[in-house]
Symmetry: C2
């Protein structure tokens, strides 16, 4: 199975990409970084780092955390974070549609079997 | 400075992406994997691995090597490899043009300073 992956890098850091977008979605769904991390089979530390990178790359925070809460890691995706997520998803969708012939001229030559 | 990066993954392997495309271009230019590797500040071993991954992901080789040559590592990008490279470059170009508003709605919120 092939997959189109799009990243937006700032200098040498990925500001937005497939992993960060999935993480944002799961934080929205679960309301917590640790629950989102678990769903992605990722350590809490790693998920926290991804959030921290995003929050530092952009001029507004995408995720705010409620430190000291009973659940220890309650988190919320901000309106700004949601808007970045939506723009990213739309970028993928638009590319898949509008550059379908270029994508397929590459992917139709990919071997089917895993090895 | 921000950069749009597009990868095409097959299963968990990147079949084509920014590094592999640059490597193909430098192999065309230099006629050798080791010279291309040097220009990318990459070990010969790493460059050779990238070539090997590409050649295994696609149904035809993108690079053929002339083993045993005096120069030890003469390499040639095949017509097929060139066509994959061109499709990939066109995919980037088309995405940058046609999804410009989605890209800019993300990148205009990136912080300008490095940190």
């Amino acid at each position: 199975m092939h997959k189109l992956k799009i990243r937006i890098d700032m200098d040498k850091t990925t500001a937005m990409g497939p992993g960060k977008a999935d993480l944002l979605e799961l934080i929205i769904e679960t309301g917590s970084i640790s629950a989102a991390a678990k769903r992605m089979h990722m350590s809490y530390r790693r998920a926290w780092e991804l959030v921290d990178v995003m929050n530092h790359c952009f001029d507004e925070p995408l995720v705010i955390t409620n430190v000291g809460g009973k659940s220890g890691g309650g988190a919320e995706v901000t309106a700004f974070g949601l808007s970045m997520l939506q723009s990213y998803r739309q970028l993928i969708r638009k590319t898949s549609e509008l550059a379908a012939s270029e994508i397929s001229s590459i992917t139709r030559h990919l071997r089917k079997e895993t090895h």
